[in-house]
Symmetry: C2
Subunit: 135 residues, 2 copies
Amino acid sequence: MENLLKNKNIRVTPFRMDVLRVFNSFENAISLSQIEEKLGSFDRITLYRTLKSFQENGLIHEIVMPGDIKKYAMCEEKCGHKEHNHQHEHIHFHCKKCSEVYCLDIPALPNFHFTNYTIENVEIQVKGICEKCQK
Amino acid sequence: MENLLKNKNIRVTPFRMDVLRVFNSFENAISLSQIEEKLGSFDRITLYRTLKSFQENGLIHEIVMPGDIKKYAMCEEKCGHKEHNHQHEHIHFHCKKCSEVYCLDIPALPNFHFTNYTIENVEIQVKGICEKCQK
DNA sequence: TATAATTATGCAACAATGTTGCAATAAATA
DNA sequence: TATTTATTGCAACATTGTTGCATAATTATA
Ligand SMILES: [Mn+2]
Ligand SMILES: [Mn+2]
Ligand SMILES: [Zn+2]
Ligand SMILES: [Zn+2]
């Protein structure tokens, strides 16, 4: 599992491995407080810097939704290092009942075109009721 | 312009009119700090509560993007009061050069379908270079 | 228009979230 | 193993957001 870090050029440290294990222990996207709960005792600042470094190196991506919802999820293997954009062929589905955020694969991203606007990146967020929460 | 408030069942007060005028003085979506700058002197807590009430009553909507970007923009006339969802037939375009966030009308929302997931609301965020920033 | 009911405001106090600088420490490289 | 380079942990600070409460203003009612 160290290789997950090495492959993205992230130095391997005990704390980073701890954080990585937290991600692997969840199915879906997780919030800062979920990470903190799992970690037990830890340094808050180091955690912020760890998440930032994971993002910058394409190991995780950030998901934000209206209503101060912020979560993190693991990226794909192929996901870009450093300044390259994360390019995910999936949408983010937020369930209103259980509050889980799912990364759902979609066959093809819809193709927008706006005259005179250059499109580099499309993010799609969907709200509704998830599979498990259907009555 | 008072009617913009009355139509959405928002009590008219001098401060709320001030905030409304700030929105009308900008073309695109605006940030909290942009509002604060325009207001001059004001009570921070009242502003938070004003924005919350504007949102709850369908006068403005909140736009969030990865990287701690949070902006506000006016809704359409038709936009839902209270607990009804804001339903906007537009996307949010964030320009990497000038950092403006545009609400851009699109002819039709793409139609997603995920087996066993009930979709209630779709938000689309696009990053790129805007019209005005093209070389 | 005067009165009552309802909601908004302003202030204090607090909570949550995020950033920077720096010395000590640990990881990777040679 | 020695050197280079990046990470950690701590303090201090900045930004963002919330709650309670007394006072003031707005709206509804008579
Ligand atoms: Mn995702
Ligand atoms: Mn909009
Ligand atoms: Zn659910
Ligand atoms: Zn631009």
